[in-house]
């Protein structure tokens, strides 16, 4: 299915809905049993929501610096649209001197830029907040790193000619709201939109962007929470104020003040999320693993959005003492860094391994990330309990 939009089950569901027979069909579909089927091409992922597709990568499979496309997590609010390359264009308009419309071939003729980016869903780790909050109950694996390539958004905006009134760039994809849902439109402040690393990407890990990841074109807003990187992009609009829509004005916002767990927050005390926070996770050993006494090794990844990972420390004793881990050689501004630490355990028993990253701004992973109404930015010190056997 490389580059070929997948014929999704969704198109059949919609067809059924249009035929006026949608009510109750859910029960008759194969997905409605006790065990849901996998999404083709994503068989190794955890299905958090079958329809729309929200798929998480098991942390044990996040073991390479570049996450292969078939292991990359999937998150969208609406059904994945089926977009054909033929006849497709992206439109650039709003506060610009001249409206542009480009085909995929025309985009490919522009200077090509490439950037390795760790994308993470803002709600990754939501399942760990207490009290629980509504939303997809992501654990650790709504994150991955891919190399994206395409045209620079800034090059296109310069070509269109920015007017002085332009403050934000609204991004809209081909996904269509279900029922009376608001459309999924996001916006990027002009400065970030013009940054040389902000792309309109048509490649993911050297292939055309797969259908579930936004074929044929996806915005890539590096270092910022994943929802900025709008999939199936077809409309870029320069606007003079923040976009007035649910997914900008209500969703993807975080309290500006410290709040108590479970508290409600006045909307005026919420601000848009932007950069990802400092975070790490252990991908080996896995939670509950049995490990032979003797030499052992703990590995994982750490990232910090627009920041750089300065160090990762690990603890083998539940956080009583910490030792620095070695950082991997692969290092790019917006991509995670691997870490590893070899250690010896002589005494059999139960051990709590931990990882704690610090970035170049001095931000450190907390013991308890602040609870917030939508369950964003979970970045607690990671922990994995293992059993060391004689």
């Amino acid at each position: 299915m490389k580059g070929q939009p997948r014929r999704s089950r969704r198109s059949f569901i919609i067809g059924a809905g249009q035929a006026g027979a949608a009510a109750g069909l859910g029960r008759l579909l194969p997905g409605a049993g006790a065990q849901a089927p996998a999404i083709k091409g994503k068989e190794k992922l955890i299905v958090r929501s079958l329809r729309p597709e929200d798929l998480e990568t098991p942390v044990g499979l996040l073991n390479s610096w570049i996450t292969p496309n078939d292991l990359f997590y999937v998150r969208h609010h609406m059904y994945a649209p089926r977009v054909e390359a033929a006849g497709w264009t992206v439109r650039i308009d709003g506060e610009v001197e001249r409206e542009l419309r480009l085909t995929l071939d025309e985009l490919r003729q522009l200077p090509k830029a490439s950037v390795a980016v760790t994308l993470e869903c803002a709600g990754n780790g939501r399942a760990y907040f207490d009290p629980p909050v509504a939303g997809i109950q992501w654990e650790k694996g709504a994150v991955g790193t891919a190399r994206f390539a395409g045209a620079r958004l800034g090059d296109l905006l310069r070509r269109a000619g920015l007017k002085a009134a332009g403050k934000y760039v609204a991004l809209d994809g081909a996904d269509k709201p279900v029922g009376k849902m608001p459309d999924f439109v996001r916006n990027v402040p002009l400065e970030k939109a013009m940054h040389a690393d902000t792309l309109l990407a048509y490649e993911m890990n050297g292939e055309p962007i797969p259908a579930l990841h936004g074929f044929p074109l996806r915005a890539i807003v590096p270092g910022w929470e994943g929802a900025y990187s709008v999939k199936w992009l077809e409309h870029v609009r320069v606007i003079d104020r923040e976009f007035d829509g649910f997914f900008v004005k209500t969703a993807y916002r975080y309290p500006t003040k410290r709040i108590a767990p479970g508290a409600s927050v006045d909307p005026k005390d919420m601000a848009p999320l932007t950069g990802l926070v400092v975070k790490s996770f252990i991908n080996s050993p896995l939670q509950g693993a049995a490990v032979k006494a003797g030499a052992a090794r703990v590995t994982g990844f750490a990232w910090a959005g627009e920041g750089h990972v300065a160090k990762v420390e690990v603890s083998l004793d539940g956080g009583s003492s910490w030792v620095p881990a070695r950082l991997g050689k692969e290092r790019e501004r917006y991509a995670w860094q691997s870490f590893a630490h070899e250690f010896k355990v002589a005494e059999p028993g139960s051990y709590l391994l931990m990882s704690r990253a610090t970035d170049d701004r001095g931000r450190v992973q907390p013991v308890a990330p602040m609870w917030n109404p939508s369950g964003y930015l979970w970045n607690a010190i990671d922990q994995v309990r293992i059993n060391v056997e004689a």
Binding site: G31, A34, S49, K180, M181
Partner: protein
């Protein structure tokens, strides 16, 4: 069987066949799709599962206030839930998928 019934049956067969063609085998793991019995479950089946699967509901652990907010949001977004259905629906969701419910 009426003509409409036959049409629906044919459509369902087509859907099942299409599903078999595009889906792979069982995933690494998935949230369960089965809804516990109880008053309100028919409303969930009839009014919620058209747009998303049960997994989205089954995985939540919300208080009655939290479920009320979700149901009201879904009604704003097009779920056709009558005022008379709302209370038993929130009650069912809160009892089945409250903060103290068994692990997901």
């Amino acid at each position: 069987m009426s003509k409409l019934d036959i049409k629906i049956l044919k459509l369902c067969c087509a859907l099942l066949a299409a599903g078999a063609a595009v889906w792979g085998g069982p995933p690494a793991s998935a949230v369960r799709q089965d809804l516990p019995a109880g008053p309100g479950v028919e409303t969930v089946r009839a009014k919620c599962i058209g747009c998303h699967e049960a997994d989205l509901i089954v995985s939540q652990r919300l208080s009655p206030a939290g479920w009320t907010r979700e149901v009201e949001k879904m009604v704003r977004w097009g779920a056709v839930v009558s005022d008379a259905e709302k209370e038993p629906l929130v009650d069912y969701l809160s009892k089945s998928f409250g903060p103290g419910a068994k692990p997901k």
